[in-house]
C-alpha cells in the first residue's frame, strides 16, 4: 500500500512535469499552428543551463532562476530568427525545419559542454524525506516539484483565463485576423508566447535534471511524450493537456511499477517477465491510439480544426 501511494505520487509528479512541456507545446500549436519538434531541445537546454549556473553560483535556486531566464531568451531569439518564418507553412515544413533545429541544438550542446553529460545534485535542503501522510515518507525534492508545477499550472490558468494577455492568447487561438485587426502587435504576442513555452520546457528540464542525468538527446524521448499528450488532450487545449498529462504520468509510472507483476500473474513467470518491459513502455502509445481511434480530434479539442 505504501508503495502504491508512493508510485501514485511519482505518477502525479511525472504527469505534472509532462504538463509543463505539453502546455508550451499546445500553446504554440494552438495559437501559431506550429509543430515544434525542437521543444525537447529547450527542455535539454534548461537542464544544461541549470547544471552550469548552479555550479557557478553554488546555489541551486539561483542557478534555476538564471536557467529559466536563459531558456526564455533562447526561446524568444529562436522565435525571431527561425520559427517566425515557419508560420503559415504546412506541417511538413514545420516537422523538417524543427528537426533540423534538433540536430543543431544537440550538436551545439556537444560543442559547448562536451559529449559527456552533466549532473545537477539535488540541493541539500531538499535531499531528504518528509512525512507527507501519517506513516508515509516521500522525497522532499519530488514533493517540491509537485508544488512548483501546481503553482505554475495555477499561474497558467489565471494568465490564460483572467488576464488581458490571456484573452489575446485565447482569441489568437480561435481568430488570428481578429486579434490583428484589434491593433495588437501580433508579432510580439507570438514571440512572448513562444518564449513562455520555452521557459516552461526549460523549467521542466531543470527540475528533472537532478532525477535523471543531463545529457544530449534527453529531449528527444520526452518531446514525443509531450506530443502524445497534446494530441490526446486535443490540440490547443490547456485543460486537455493537463488531463492528458496526468493520465500519461499515472499510466506510465504505475504501468512500469505494477504491470509486470500483473502480467506475471496472468501469463506465468516466464512469458510475463519477458513481455512486461516492452508492454509497459507501449502502454501510453496504445492509450493514444485507442483515444484517437475513438476521438480523432483528441479529448478536449479546442477548435474543430
Amino acid at each position: 500500500m505504501t508503495l502504491f501511494i508512493e508510485q501514485c505520487l511519482n505518477g502525479l509528479q511525472f504527469g505534472l512535469l509532462l504538463f509543463l512541456l505539453a502546455a508550451g507545446l499546445t500553446l504554440v500549436f494552438g495559437i501559431m499552428d506550429l509543430v515544434n519538434l525542437a521543444h525537447g531541445s529547450l527542455y535539454m537546454l534548461g537542464a544544461y543551463f541549470a547544471a552550469t549556473f548552479a555550479a557557478w553560483t553554488g546555489s541551486f535556486l539561483l542557478g534555476a532562476v538564471l536557467a529559466l531566464v536563459a531558456t526564455l531568451i533562447v526561446g524568444m531569439v529562436l522565435e525571431v530568427v527561425a520559427m517566425r518564418r515557419l508560420y503559415g507553412r504546412d506541417h511538413l515544413d514545420h516537422v523538417l525545419g524543427t528537426f533540423g533545429l534538433i540536430l543543431f541544438f544537440d550538436e551545439g550542446v556537444r560543442l559547448i559542454w562536451g559529449p559527456g553529460g552533466l549532473s545537477l545534485p539535488v540541493p541539500s535542503w531538499l535531499n531528504r524525506s518528509i512525512e507527507i501522510l501519517p506513516g508515509i515518507q516521500y522525497s522532499a525534492y519530488r514533493f517540491a516539484i509537485i508544488v512548483v508545477t501546481l503553482a505554475v499550472a495555477a499561474f497558467l490558468y489565471i494568465l490564460v483565463m483572467r488576464t488581458r494577455i490571456g484573452m489575446l492568447i485565447r482569441a489568437g487561438a480561435s481568430n488570428r485576423e481578429m486579434v490583428g485587426a484589434l491593433g495588437v502587435n501580433i508579432k510580439l504576442l507570438y514571440t512572448l508566447v513562444f518564449g513562455l513555452g520555452a521557459a516552461l520546457a526549460g523549467l521542466a528540464g531543470l527540475m528533472q535534471a537532478p532525477i535523471l542525468t543531463v545529457q544530449i538527446g534527453m529531449g528527444e524521448n520526452i518531446v514525443i511524450l509531450a506530443f502524445v499528450i497534446t494530441v490526446i488532450g486535443g490540440i490547443g487545449s490547456i485543460r486537455g493537456a493537463l488531463v492528458a498529462a496526468l493520465l500519461v504520468g499515472f499510466i506510465d509510472t504505475l504501468g512500469r511499477a505494477f504491470f509486470p507483476q500483473i502480467l506475471v500473474e496472468l501469463l506465468g513467470r516466464q512469458a510475463g517477465s519477458t513481455a512486461a518491459p516492452a508492454l509497459s513502455s507501449m502502454l501510453i502509445y496504445i492509450l493514444m491510439a485507442v483515444i484517437l481511434v475513438v476521438k480523432p480530434q483528441g479529448l478536449f479539442s479546442a477548435n474543430s480544426r
Binding site: F99, G100, T274, S281, L292
Partner: protein, 336 residues
C-alpha cells in the same frame, strides 16, 4: 514542349549509369569503403522512394516509416536466429509482416488528419521500437546480430559485396519502376487528387480511405523489404533503427531530393548520406586556414551545419534537388 534532353533527365540518367558502373570503379581502385557506403545509400533510397509514394504523391505525412525498416530487418534477423537462413523464406516473411503492420496501422491512423495523423503514425512506430527493446530473447536494447546473410539456394551469395550491391540496386530500380507505374495509373491519379484536395475527391464520389490505405500498405511493404536488405547489409538489427529520428531522416531524404518526383528520394538519400560522410571533411578544410589546430575538431560538429541547412531548404528550396535541376535546366518541362 517536352524535350528528353533536359538537365534533369541527363543528371538522372548519369546517376543511374553511375550506380550501375560503381562496382567497376571499386574493382579498379580497390576502394571497398565506397561500395559499402553506396550499398547503404541504395537501400535507404529504396526506403525513401517507398515513403515518397505516400508522402510525396498522396500527401500523407507519415512520421513512422522507419518502423517498417525495423520490422523487415527484425523479421529477417529473428528467422536467422531461429535457424531459418533461406532468403526465400526470410524476405517474403519480412514483406508479409510489414504489410500486416501497415494494414493495421493504416486502418487506424487514416481515420485522423493533419497533425493527428503525423503523431499517431509516430506513436505506432514508437510501439514497434519499444516492442523490439522488450524482446529479451532477441537482444532487447542491444539488438541482434545475424549469424549469416540470407541464402538463396546457392543462386546468389549475398556475402559477396558486389553481388549484394547489385541485388539492392535491382530492387531499388524495381521499386522506382513500380512507383512510376503506380503514380501514373488511375490509382495514382486518385492519390494525387487526394493530395491536392481530399474533400473534393470525396464529393465527386471517391471513397478515399481505401485508396489511401492501399497506398499506405504498398509503401510499408516496400520499406519492409528494404529493411530485410539493411539487416543483411549491417549483419545486425537494433531497436534504434526504428527510433523516431530515423523516420525523420527518411522524410528529410524525400524532401531534400524533391517530393512527389520519381528520382527525388534517390538524390535525397545520396545527398544526406554524402553530407553525413563528407561534411566533417569539408568543415575541416574550411576551418583549416583560420585555425589549423581546431580544424579536425570542428569537423566533428557537422550537424551544426546540417541542421540549419535543413531549415534553409525548407524555407527557400522546397522543390529539393529535383526542383533545382528543373529550374537550372530551364522552364520548358513545366509538367511531368
Amino acid at each position: 514542349m517536352r524535350s528528353a534532353l533536359t538537365l534533369r533527365n541527363i543528371v538522372t540518367a548519369a546517376l543511374v549509369i553511375g550506380l550501375v558502373l560503381l562496382p567497376l570503379y571499386v574493382a579498379l581502385t580497390g576502394d571497398r569503403f565506397v561500395l559499402i557506403l553506396f550499398t547503404r545509400i541504395v537501400i535507404l533510397a529504396m526506403a525513401a522512394v517507398s515513403l515518397n509514394l505516400i508522402l510525396g504523391y498522396a500527401g500523407m505525412m507519415s512520421f513512422g516509416h522507419a518502423a517498417f525498416l525495423g520490422l523487415g530487418g527484425y523479421t529477417t534477423a529473428i528467422l536467422s536466429f531461429e535457424g531459418v537462413h533461406s532468403g526465400f523464406l526470410q524476405w517474403p516473411a519480412a514483406i508479409a509482416v510489414s504489410a500486416l503492420f501497415a494494414l493495421a496501422v493504416g486502418a487506424l491512423s487514416l481515420r485522423t488528419r493533419g497533425v493527428y495523423f503525423i503523431m499517431i503514425t509516430l506513436a505506432f512506430a514508437q510501439m514497434a521500437y519499444y516492442m523490439a527493446s522488450g524482446m529479451a530473447r532477441y537482444g532487447g536494447d542491444d539488438g541482434l546480430s545475424l549469424e549469416s546473410r540470407s541464402t538463396f539456394a546457392g543462386l546468389l551469395n549475398l556475402s559477396n559485396k558486389t553481388t549484394f550491391y547489385y541485388v539492392c540496386l535491382a530492387l531499388l530500380l524495381g521499386t522506382i519502376l513500380l512507383v512510376w507505374r503506380l503514380t501514373n495509373s488511375r490509382f495514382g491519379m486518385v492519390l494525387q487528387g487526394v493530395r491536392s484536395n481530399e474533400s473534393r475527391m470525396s464529393a465527386i464520389g471517391y471513397p478515399t480511405f481505401r485508396y489511401k490505405l492501399t497506398a499506405f500498405v504498398i509503401a510499408g511493404t516496400l520499406c519492409g523489404l528494404a529493411g530485410a536488405l539493411i539487416a543483411n547489409h549491417t549483419d545486425f538489427v537494433s531497436p534504434s533503427m526504428m527510433f523516431w529520428t530515423r523516420s525523420g531522416d527518411l522524410i528529410v531524404m524525400v524532401v531534400l531530393g524533391g517530393m512527389g518526383t520519381l528520382f527525388g528520394p534517390v538524390f535525397g538519400a545520396l545527398a544526406l548520406l554524402f553530407l553525413e560522410q563528407f561534411l566533417p571533411t569539408l568543415i575541416n578544410m574550411a576551418v583549416r586556414p583560420f585555425n589549423p589546430a581546431g580544424a579536425a575538431k570542428a569537423g566533428e560538429y557537422w550537424q551544426l551545419v546540417l541542421g540549419p541547412l535543413l531549415l534553409f531548404i525548407v524555407l527557400f528550396a522546397r522543390g529539393g534537388i529535383d526542383g533545382l535541376l528543373k529550374k537550372l535546366g530551364g522552364k520548358h518541362s513545366s509538367h511531368e
